[in-house]
Symmetry: C2
Subunit: 344 residues, 2 copies
């Protein structure tokens, strides 16, 4: 029975808390969130499953002190610069960490100094850190690397993840530029309000490390997906000529040739223009491998699942800062109704 | 630089030897085969790449004694009963083992006593044993388990591997019943000459172990694929009404429900009746995941690739008898032309 706490009770953190409660070999012991309206509340009440005697702490270290978790899931932010101190504060309590911060899925290239510091602190405290999620963390890296395992040789990798942003609300619409005019989109890219996908750099570096490839440069592009038809969701209406999403691509070069070519167009209602959502991986090599998952693995559920499913593996692993490529193959942990049994 | 020897120089063993020669971080140091016509010959000559100063030994232990491998790949036979003593003899020399014996991909259920003995000897000698291959070992187990990692919950797994036996010669035609009449097929199943696929038991037990499922029973079926058209390859001609292959299925039950349902119809020229070859995995759960690889990952190349690609991981792993589910995700090892560089 692993004792797990969750730091950050947003859409992902609360989903992970709920998922932990459903697993037979795990016990949710505490939650921390900085939102004043959550503090002191019962986690079960917030999840609409009735009182479970687990409260939201106002202080993460107090939570660790009082609940003795084996592992803390950090679901607060995307960037290393923000989560680094949070991670280190947990490690110093000799507690393992999983974070869904996108940049932490392969931090060694993005911020080698921070990665090195985290790795050293983890090793000194004999605990393990992993950054994961559905993407980066699974579709455009772990799954690609795994498939190359059946190849005698790999020359080039093309992969795309085509999803539908319809379920998402205003924040995602803004960061992907949905509903803007082409001019507004261009300005949004320039001023950093439209970000596209966070994770291409990490996925590419993880693949390259696994395959022993030396990448010379990565060129990313963010282009508007201009709609030819009316697309309307609960949150937004896009007229023809307006932007339905962001086509974000990344090409990685080795010796002046593109060897990894990733696409992640994110838009609302792609089927309105006959674009089928899915995860597509094409490996050119010996043999070629052409894989598709239709529809795509859903982003929110996928991230909640992977983050939870890696908990046992991370706790049982050797110490240090690891990536998905260092750990045993992922798997779904068994579900059961233990949160109704004594105590919680 | 890992030193690797190969025991068994058939289609798979010779392919693995060739592949090892192509990898930058590996050195092929020796080959053993019992065929008299190979003994003492140069491995490069046998592979048609010119002399490489590596010879075929008549005795596997002499090969180990003289060449000091870090790992021996055993590619001799499908069954634990045959490879067990071979594996143990290598382990006793403190050398790691990868075998493509199908039953060794998950031996704990098939022969728990042998598995236990192998595990103990491996641990006492601080070395590692892995059974792998494209299937069992990758498509209908490792890949399925990996995909469940993105699921909150898994209820049922359906998967099929549809391949084309056209490239294969008389032995495979016989063991799959290709070219028989329906009556001959039935007799072949009864007298054990037609075997279908070896590996369903292992794939199912590996999946069940990873997911924490308790399987009550597994029911396998081998049925003739009766051709409606003429199908002809270099090796065999099948007239309408005759058998084009063996449809082998396995259903695993938990609490009287089928929870793992695997199909592996093996036939010549399936496209003659509009059957598309491919690897198909369907997970019913939360979320559902529907994956296809078209065409299927080729069996021969896939097995050679996986067996070679796991070498580094097995050498660097903790000691004992492991399965693909215990090791880090597979990956293609880097190819390079080092076998032309000094030393052989």
């Amino acid at each position: 029975m692993y004792r797990v706490a969750v730091w950050g009770f947003g859409a992902m953190g609360s989903g992970i808390a709920r998922n932990i409660l459903s697993k037979v070999n795990m016990k949710l012991v505490g939650v921390h969130d900085k939102r004043k309206e959550y503090i002191g509340k019962d986690v079960g009440e917030l999840l609409n499953i009735g009182n479970i005697n687990i409260k939201v702490f106002d202080n993460p270290l107090k939570m660790i002190e009082e609940t003795n978790p084996d592992l803390v899931v950090i679901a607060t932010h995307s960037f290393i610069s923000v989560v680094k101190d949070q991670i280190i504060s947990v490690l110093k309590k000799n507690v393992n960490v999983i974070t869904i911060a996108e940049e932490m899925s392969y931090p060694y290239y993005t911020d080698p100094y921070a990665a090195n510091e985290i790795d050293h602190v983890a090793k000194r405290h004999s605990v393990t850190v992993l950054g994961t999620g559905v993407n980066p963390g699974f579709v455009l890296d772990t799954l690609i690397i795994t498939l190359t395992g059946a190849c005698l040789n790999v020359e080039k990798i093309n992969a795309s993840r085509i999803n539908d942003l319809s379920p998402f609300g205003p924040t995602v619409m803004e960061t992907q530029g949905v509903g803007t005019t082409p001019q507004e989109f261009e300005e949004g890219i320039k001023n950093g309000k439209i970000v596209g996908h966070i994770g291409f750099q990490q996925s590419i570096r993880m693949i390259a490390k696994a395959l022993g490839w030396k990448i010379d440069k990565i060129i990313e592009k963010r282009e508007p997906i201009i709609s030819n038809v009316v697309r309307e969701t609960k949150y937004i209406k896009v007229e023809p000529g307006m932007v339905a999403g962001c086509k974000h691509t990344a090409k990685a070069y080795m010796n002046d040739e593109v060897v990894i070519d990733l696409e992640h167009p994110q838009q609302i209602l792609p089927e309105k223009e006959n674009v089928q959502t899915g995860d597509y991986i094409n490996i050119k090599g010996d043999p070629d491998i052409s894989m598709s998952i239709k529809p795509e693995i859903p982003g929110g559920k996928g991230t909640v699942a992977i983050a939870t499913n890696m908990i046992e593996s991370v706790i049982e692993s050797k110490p240090g800062l690891l990536t998905m490529a260092d750990l045993p193959i992922p798997r779904a942990l068994l579900k059961g109704d233990t949160f109704f049994e004594g105590g919680y």
